[in-house]
Amino acid sequence: MSTTAQHAESHAHGHGLGETVTHNAAKFGMWLFLGTEILLFGGLFAAYALFRAKYPDLFYESHKKLDISLGTINTIVLIFSSFTMAMAVSAAQKRNRKWLMILLGVTFICAAAFGVNKYFEYSAKFHHDIFPDTNIFFALYFMMTGLHMLHVFLGMGIILALIIMAKQGRFKEGNRYTPVEVGGLYWHLVDLIWIYLFPLLYLIG
């Protein structure tokens, strides 16, 4: 027979999984999920490549109507939030609850600032009669930044949940900071996608 009932592993006897297994599994799962997120945006990037190759002039002319300074500010805000998020993970690992909450709070504020900025940007576009059906470039602009904005909102929800969990003292002992690390991974992806969106949409030259 192929098996023996002997069990060597310590975690085999308990009914839960070991903390290390859970931690690694959660991280691995999140990485896989992030892969699917990139593919989701990948469809839009493919459409972007196709249409930009087809209509280079339209893209160049239309992109001038975007507000580069607002875009730049948002880029800086988001990169900074990624930095505070990374620091938050580090604080969680060091069991520094106070700094964890401060850093998560700053990250949340940055995300909110990004959203407010985007709101002004969108309203300015609508004010100038620019809508998703104006032309292919703006269709792409609204689809890409809109889908990204959805991810920012989702990320804000996650960060808020982490802050509440931290307040409840959930990241005290053992390997329990897993949610912070996994949530952090997600937030870095939101940042990363914007880093691609910014030059593709705002800096066509």
Binding site: H13, L17, G35, G43, L44, M143
Partner: protein
């Protein structure tokens, strides 16, 4: 273990707990597997009934059963959508995958049991949205090709939203399975000892993760196209209708392997047990699933040979399409080599497995045939395609599904069905299937186009035979269903042994039905799953 019985300190079968709450809030992978099994079987039945209705309509050239051709269009949209999105894509992967995966690798559950339940609920939400949308007749077909899907009055936004939500469920399940296989294998369950069903589930999960997001964005774009008029697929606005087809098939071609690869896994489990031989070419079978998965991403344009793509692109995709035949044939040859000089027992599940080999080979070879450019131009959108696709999907996936149902039935439910009735049902299914679909190769070749409710009188004999066949097939499935349902309602029909077929795989080393936690103690695996030759006398003695 030498004595083949895993001693349980306190054996409580996973089915023991009763009540609605114990089901809808369960995080037990086995129960979630049953939830999927029941749901997909239900939709399979509905989808099958719409197919019987279409076949009944097609018995005569005129419109007689349906009141209008639109009604016929609605029927085939319903048939296609139900069968593809509700039954065959989640099908084996979610039902058998959930039930077997932790048992086979020696784990207590999947890596994320709660996400697993969430994934089932998302699946249900998706089906609810989709069903609600389909209550208002839709006539786009299951492919939602633009520009028609933008112009039609049907609730395309709702339908695509439903499919989008279903995709989420698929992604979460795939993610869960990959992590489980990586992180939760029992000690000694090395990659080279993994059951082939696990290898197949792994390849499927990768496809789910890589392909589903792309159809997700495609459907979002279609929604945006209808809601905001973004013009991506509208040539009048500078868009490209072919882009939709590219996006759609970039997912939907790999998706056909999401449908079939789990069935490959089931066949690889059944054949060595009933041939009483180690599986031939274990690694070749395992790796070929991945070869198929990889190649499947580079063949999508073969659905679009007549859409006006360049001849160069068409020639390249034609060549790449034929490449898929290589890893697929590797599997078929290895299964046949496993049978060679085996001591074959014709259990009902083995009969389904053997019919799988025959029917899938016909389906696969006609696929290569269709991959040839010139021939495809002639056969595009004819009944030849319908026959090819059903030989792969029914002759392949559904045969694997039925085979798996008969093989693991005792393990799922702790009951036995009537074997003689099962064999009779198999006979009707096998004959009925061939009578239904074989004539369609001929009429397709002679030019009968697909998706029409009426047709020229010259095709009547083929259509009539096909309809008679659908009745035989329907009767076979009905008998099979009754045969599998009856034991569940009786207080008898308990199995004599927890491992009646002398399988060496881990799931057969626990009682039937398995206890809630699967294993009393996590087993340590010391040997390959398929060492049937070595332990032949021992395994035979146990029967």
């Amino acid at each position: 273990m030498a004595n083949g019985v895993m001693t349980q300190t306190q054996y409580i079968p996973y089915l023991a707990q009763k009540g609605l709450k114990s089901w809808i809030l369960t995080t037990d992978h086995k129960r979630i597997g049953i939830l999927y099994l029941v749901t997909i079987s239900f939709f399979f039945m509905i989808g099958g009934l719409t197919a019987l209705g279409m076949r009944y309509e097609l018995m005569t050239p005129e419109l007689d059963f349906f009141r209008s051709t639109t009604e016929y269009n609605v029927a085939f949209t319903l048939h296609g959508s139900l069968m593809v999105f509700f039954f065959i894509v989640p099908g084996i992967a979610a039902s058998f995958g959930n039930f077997l995966l932790p048992l086979m690798i020696g784990a207590r559950d999947v890596a994320f049991p709660r996400i697993n339940l969430l994934s089932f609920w998302i699946y249900l939400a998706g089906t609810a949205i989709l069903l609600f949308a389909l209550m208002q007749p839709a006539d786009t077909g299951w492919t939602f090709y633009t520009p028609y899907s933008i112009q039609t009055g049907a609730k395309v936004i709702m339908i695509t939203l439903g499919v989008f939500v279903l995709g989420f469920s698929s992604i979460l399940t795939g993610m869960n399975f990959i992590v489980t296989i990586h992180k939760l294998r029992a000690p000694g369950m090395t990659w080279s000892r993994l059951p082939l069903f696990i290898w197949a589930s792994y390849a499927t999960a990768i496809l789910q993760l890589l392909a589903t997001p792309v159809v997700g964005i495609t459907l979002l774009l279609l929604i945006a196209e209808r809601a905001f008029d973004i013009g991506f697929f509208d040539p009048a606005k500078g868009g490209d209708p072919i882009l939709f087809q590219n996006f759609f098939w970039f997912y939907s071609h790999p998706a056909v392997y999401i449908m079939i690869i789990p069935a490959f896994g089931i066949i690889s489990e059944i054949i060595p047990v009933f041939a009483r031989k180690p599986i031939f070419g274990y690694k070749a079978i395992a790796y070929s699933s991945f070869a198929i998965a990889i190649i499947s991403f580079f063949v999508w344009m073969h659905h679009m040979f007549v859409s006006g793509i360049s001849e160069t692109a068409a020639a390249i995709f034609s060549f790449l399409t034929m490449l898929v035949a290589i890893p697929t044939a590797i599997k078929v040859f290895n299964w046949i080599a496993t049978l060679y000089k085996g001591s074959i027992e014709f259990h009902s599940s083995m009969l389904y497995a053997l019919s799988f080999i025959v029917l899938f080979t016909i389906g696969g070879l006609t696929g290569v045939y269709l991959g040839a450019l010139a021939i495809d131009v002639h056969l595009h959108d004819t009944y030849f395609i319908v026959a090819h696709m059903h030989y792969v999907m029914i002759g392949g996936t559904v045969m694997g599904f039925f085979g798996g149902l008969h093989f693991w039935y005792q393990k799922w439910f702790g009951k036995v069905f009537n074997e003689l009735t099962a064999k009779a049902a198999w006979f009707l299914v096998f004959v009925g299937f061939n009578v239904t679909f074989f004539p369609q190769f001929f009429m397709g070749f002679q030019g009968m186009p697909r998706r029409y409710a009426t047709y020229p009188a010259e095709y009547i004999s083929y259509h009539a035979i096909s309809t008679y066949g659908s009745w035989i097939l329907g009767l076979g499935i009905l008998i099979m269903t009754v045969n599998l349902l009856l034991p569940l309602m009786k207080k008898s029909n308990y199995p004599k042994s927890s491992n009646p077929y002398g399988s060496l795989s881990l799931e057969w080393q626990v009682p039937s039905p398995p206890p809630h936690e699967n294993f009393d103690k996590i087993p340590t695996v010391t040997d390959w799953t398929y060492s049937y030759g070595k332990n032949r006398s021992e395994a035979n003695a146990k029967k």
